[in-house]
Symmetry: C2
Subunit: 344 residues, 2 copies
């Protein structure tokens, strides 16, 4: 009780007070930001570059569970998921607007913690917070972020440009965020049974971090720019590798062959999946929330990335008539499905 006493109710500072409190800590880093928070709208100048814009909504108990997600991590992740969409266009994120609705159960300090995570992610990726809105909600916490980015004319990469014989590649590894979620859910159940139990999270820090504090792949976009590479199509992996591969194939009117043994898995993903009797490939294909980039690249450009450990070639693009298949380790061909992909 004594610790709670120190917390500040939202009603004590009011909406204007809260906005002032949060915006005082915001600094502007991009020269494209002429005017940030403080007017009817922000004013930006992209100097002839094209602008990309993306938006995401995060709803408590739908997209996150505050029983195991620290607010600072949630703030960080809510920015990252949006920046990931901007990078997936081969663009550089430059600004975000942030709107938050929260019930009165959140003290001012909780909102500050959430914003601290947001500012941290923005600072790390060189993005300015240029606007937003705060409101009370009847129940729970809702976060809406809109991200803007810039890209040279002709350099935006869409989902629909994959061509026959292109190489299908993915950054980093996949499935870890999903296994991190399984781990956190398990510990939540244990905690419900016995609140004095210590969580058993050792040895799986990587999985937890991938779930709670993902990073977007700006390094891949920088590498493309520095090496004159333009992927033919690109998408970020939010719903699961399988679903995103199908998006690219459908939008590009092509088929593909993806090789199960080429899908990059972290050893922890593999180990913990087996511990839970989950097929690690299923975690990778259906898991989601990896925020890695899936892209296709011409065989000629592939030579420029093949020695970079960030990238893994996982398959190739075929005629649409050949369909979209996973080639399993036993060389059987299994149709890819958007959700609920299963081994036969």
């Amino acid at each position: 009780m004594s610790a709670e006493k120190k917390l500040t109710q939202l009603s004590e500072v009011g909406e204007f007070g809260l906005i002032k409190l949060l915006s005082n800590k915001i600094t502007i880093e991009n020269k494209s930001t002429l005017k940030g928070i403080g007017d009817d709208a922000a004013v930006l100048d992209f100097s002839g570059k094209q602008v990309v814009v993306s938006t995401d909504l995060l709803v408590e108990n739908v997209h996150f569970d505050l029983a195991y997600v620290p607010l600072k991590h949630l703030g960080y992740k809510s920015i990252v998921v949006n920046l990931s969409d901007i990078y997936a266009m081969n663009a550089k994120p430059t600004q975000v607007t942030i709107s938050i609705a929260m019930s009165s159960r959140f003290p001012v300090e909780a909102v500050e913690e959430l914003y601290e995570g947001m500012r941290l992610a923005c600072k790390r990726y060189g993005v300015d917070i240029v606007g937003g809105d705060t409101s009370s909600s009847i129940k729970g916490l809702i976060i809406s972020v809109t991200a803007l980015g810039e890209v040279e004319k002709g350099k935006a990469v869409y989902r629909n440009g994959a061509k026959l014989n292109d190489i299908l590649c993915v950054t980093g590894d996949v499935g870890a965020a999903y296994m991190g979620l399984q781990l956190l859910e398990r510990e939540k159940q244990v905690f419900k049974t016995d609140p004095n139990m210590q969580p058993e999270l050792e040895n799986y820090e990587y999985l937890i971090e991938r779930q709670l504090k993902p990073e977007p792949r700006n390094d891949a976009i920088t590498f493309f720019a520095e090496n004159g590479i333009l992927p033919t199509s690109m998408i970020d992996i939010s719903d699961g590798l399988s679903s995103e591969i199908l998006h690219i194939c459908e939008e590009s009117n092509v088929g593909c062959r993806v090789y199960e043994d080429k899908i990059p898995l972290d050893p922890d993903t593999d180990r913990f999946a087996r511990e839970l009797n989950i097929d690690p490939s299923i975690a990778a294909l259906n898991g989601g929330e990896d925020y890695e980039l899936l892209f296709t690249i011409s065989p000629f450009d592939y030579e420029k990335i093949r020695n970079n450990p960030v990238f893994s070639a996982i398959g190739h693009i075929t005629d649409i008539e050949r369909g979209t298949f996973l080639v399993a380790r036993d060389e059987s061909e299994i149709p890819l499905e958007a959700q609920g992909w299963r081994h036969n």
Copy 2:
């Protein structure tokens, strides 16, 4: 019950189905929109113009009450409040992104109605819907809209440019939206007491319309452009005339004199305020949600607008030392307050 049977549960169509359903009806009208919905992000090209961006959050039972707000009107208004912010920068709105979280109590048809209102407002003001997100919520309906607009370099109008001797002007009339809200609240109470009572809304259609279906002042912005007028400062009236005047004075480091008898009131606002024993000037100064534009203009430019009935001069800018005052009808000077302004 039989009428309800025909409604479609959100779970029947799923998130992807809903997005497809809603985005099928969207058309692109702006040449700055290169790619709308359907990729990780929209791609826009403003051809060297500056970009303005603004965002607003509308939360059920905080910002609107579905007991008397039809969903189509709510959709329309949720777009208008954002466009109003863009016009208040002297810019032309071009794109919006729309995110919606709603509980499962809303059938698909309700979401379609909401979107119909949104599309109608976008069509009327030539704005493209280029992105968004939909999600379930634990409780209620939450709408987050981000609007983008374009403005020639040097033509954006901020809150902070008011100068000594500038004329303070307002478009249209003020206070009607607030009186419309009082009327709807009164009828809601009557309905609670006796659901068979017919609402007494006749003769006050204008007040209801101002509350439920406001329009932004694009006509003022067009008039400025066509007549080579650049206001020195501008803001839209969302929180009430008094609060917005203080924003301009504070940001511009100036004072003002506002004349009570110059504040434009619709006769219905005046009549219904008196019926409820509310001072009509208080409705105008504190009411809010008018979505009119408040601006300052140099005395030279004022000559260009004085014969246009859209605009009313309500006061002038003074030195900061002279403070911010309302000159009442009896010529007494009353300090302006952001909230809760009262006659002595």
